[in-house]
């Protein structure tokens, strides 16, 4: 009989079921990065001059920057000049209103039907395929309420004032190496504006898919919730199995005005690479929200199960008085996956409050780091933070690390930090098996129990998805 330890490891051998490739004609730019390429992207997208200028400014700044090395992840140098920075399905590039049937099939296979009548009633989807958005559903219905939900490219054409006002206001083009690269070459993404006093009646979601080989996906998401507005937003992502690393460097900016709430949930399932660590997505993402208005709230929930490397710190700038920032995270690393993820909570306004709950799960040779910063500035009277970081280890080849940074410049602040590391006990598994529950179900049950605090923050449909995803990521036999 195999020992339970090896059972756990066997279970950790997942199959990635989204690894298929879509054969489709594409329109792309030559590989490499230069001002010419950036001009070419801007021209393909018929962008206004101010945006091209902004891209070029970012590119020139990027040339002066060095790739950061402080994260607890290891990878060979990224060949930036080998990547293709713009790839679009031909049908979408030609501006056709009809969605290519091949694309429809792709999204159906992924469980994201783009025909509105088949959709989950409560979810509007923007589908981004390689560099462009191929479909946005329920757009007209939302428009009746004054909600703008469309691809970033369309927003640039249709709502240039809004884009120009807010683009780069949370993540400036000088922010960091990957965000600056994104500012230079971003191709599409989602845009959302919820007007004053409107509560968005459905979940908005973007589904990202990287298909093309050796391409990078650089999307940008911009969400603005005007005074008293509410919006819940979800993104999902998958990619084919390739033995080379694809680069994904996205930027997400959220802005919440007075009494507005933005809830942003991510289920990240990029291809993680194979069992030996070949291939997989490099996921270097900058996500930040600004609680600009008083009593505004931004809540990040993420379930990170994919990618070869994840480098991601969804953060909140708590500027408005009484504003609230939340970060709930589950990060799972298996095989040779590496994740360095966490959050930054920057307290600027009075009576601001933040909550951080991070759950890291490591299996196989996975390395999982939580890196979080809580910064309380001088003017942040009565600011409060609560942080909890728990790590769960499966097997003895993996690692969990915690790097909390605290900076408190106001004596009235209350900051609490709790951390724990535990190993999935053979005792726990044996206990479950003695009650008739298989090892697989036992591991899944224990891991889901560990993540419960985070899952309950996800919108209902996605909580179920996330649980399934976690089981699949750990168990291989399901799905």
């Amino acid at each position: 009989m195999p020992t339970p330890v090896s059972n756990v490891e066997e279970l950790a051998n997942q199959e990635y079921k989204y690894g298929f490739v879509t054969e489709i004609e594409t329109d792309s730019v030559p590989p490499g990065l230069s001002e010419e390429i950036i001009r070419l992207i801007a021209a393909k997208k018929r962008e206004p001059d101010w945006l091209l200028e902004w891209r070029l400014k970012s590119y020139r700044y990027w040339l002066t920057m060095k790739e950061p090395t402080w994260a607890n992840v290891h990878y060979p140098p990224i060949p930036y000049q080998d990547y293709v920075y713009y790839v679009a399905p031909k049908s979408a590039a030609s501006g056709s209103k009809q969605i290519d049937p091949e694309l429809l099939r792709t999204y159906e296979k992924l469980g994201i039907p783009l025909q509105e009548r088949e959709l989950l009633a409560g979810v509007a989807v923007d589908a981004v395929f390689d560099s462009v958005s191929v479909a946005t559903t329920f757009k007209d219905k939302l428009k009746e309420m004054g909600i703008i939900f469309c691809s970033f490219s369309e927003a640039v054409q249709e709502h240039p004032d809004l884009v120009r006002k807010w683009l780069g206001s949370v993540v400036p083009y000088t922010d960091n190496f990957f965000a600056t690269l994104n500012s230079a070459v971003f191709s599409d993404g989602s845009f959302c504006y919820v007007p004053k006093g409107v509560r968005c009646p459905m979940e908005l979601s973007t589904y990202f898919r990287i298909n093309a080989k050796n391409s990078g996906q650089f999307e940008r998401t911009l969400i603005i919730a005007d005074e008293g507005a509410y919006v819940s937003y979800l993104e999902g992502c998958t990619a084919p199995m390739r033995d080379t690393h694809q680069l994904h460097a996205a930027v997400v900016e959220l802005i919440a005005l007075d009494n507005a709430t933005i809830k942003y949930s991510t289920v990240q399932n990029w291809y993680p690479g194979d069992k030996q660590g070949r291939g997989g997505i490099y996921n270097f993402v900058t996500k930040r929200g600004k609680c600009l208005g008083k009593n505004s709230k931004i809540s990040w929930t993420q379930v990170e199960t994919g990618s070869a490397i994840t480098w991601k710190y969804p953060s909140c700038i708590l500027q408005g008085e009484g504003s609230v920032g939340e970060f709930y995270s589950v990060a799972l690393t298996n095989h040779y996956q590496q994740a360095d993820t966490g959050t930054k909570m920057i307290h600027i306004g009075k009576n601001t409050k933040s909550t951080i709950v991070s759950k890291g799960i490591s299996a196989g040779h996975g390395q999982n780091s939580y890196r979080g910063m809580v910064k309380i500035l001088q003017g942040a009277q009565n600011a409060r933070n609560y942080s909890q970081c728990d790590s769960l280890l499966l097997g003895d080849q993996c690692g969990a690390h915690t790097f909390p940074y605290l900076e408190v410049r106001n004596p009235t602040a209350t900051v609490e930090h709790e951390a724990s590391t535990s190993k999935i006990g053979e005792d726990q598994i044996f206990y479950c098996r003695q009650r008739g529950i298989s090892t697989e179900d036992a591991v899944s049950m224990i891991v889901n129990g560990f993540c419960k605090q985070v899952f309950k923050e996800l919108p209902m449909e996605f909580a179920v998805e996330a649980q399934k995803l976690l089981s699949v990521s750990l168990e291989g036999s399901v799905g």
């Binding site: 009989m1 726990q428 098996r433 009650r435 224990i446 560990f450």
Partner: protein, 255 residues
Amino acid sequence: MLEIKDLHVSVGDHEILRGVDLKVGRGEVHAIMGPNGSGKSTLAQVLAGRDVYTVTSGEVIFEGKDLLVMAPEDRAREGIFLAFQYPVEIPGVSNLYFLRSALNTIRKARGLEEIDAMDFLKLARDKMKLLDMDENLMQRPVNEGFSGGEKKRNEIFQMAILEPRLAILDETDSGLDIDALKIVANGVNALRSPERAIVVVTHYQRLLNYIVPDVVHVLYDGRIVRSGDKRLALELEEKGYGWLEDDRQLSAAGR
């Protein structure tokens, strides 16, 4: 129902069970007593399929089937239940959810329909009364933050729900005060039935005042050295385990 023949079990190079023979029939209650380190808990864990132990020789037949080739979950589905000496905590998994999953996998293996959440709740409430348990223990994560007594009661509660054919109680009395002991014993007695065998592993005679066994065995140094009726337990209580030491030397000398 259960037949153990010349069972030898080791951990690493250390032999713990050195030829155990035991027969338990349907409807019977057997007590296995013995001093610390005699191998009582090892025997209980080996029957449940714990694989830190290596069975070096011998046989265990349960209802005509070779138990030793079965995975722990299959043994559970065949009707073997172990009430743990140290029940583990499973954070974030509610007791109710855990137990319904367990019951349903066992029911499925027996070709029965799965029980839905509502019916299960009814069943759980019914069995909870048996153990005088607080209903909020059901909603709480498995054993998390339970007192020692609550954990032991929870084990017997699980036994009541899962209705095993053979229940092995591993030092269920340890850490219980006299009131809790009575409640647990009453729960076990309520589960005695002509269809079900119960093996009570204990260090002390005390529990056997409340769960009266049909047969008492004394496990000493990896072997069953004596079997008898409930009077054997009282005799042990009176004379202590040292009495067996002399006895064993005598029998060894006589071989």
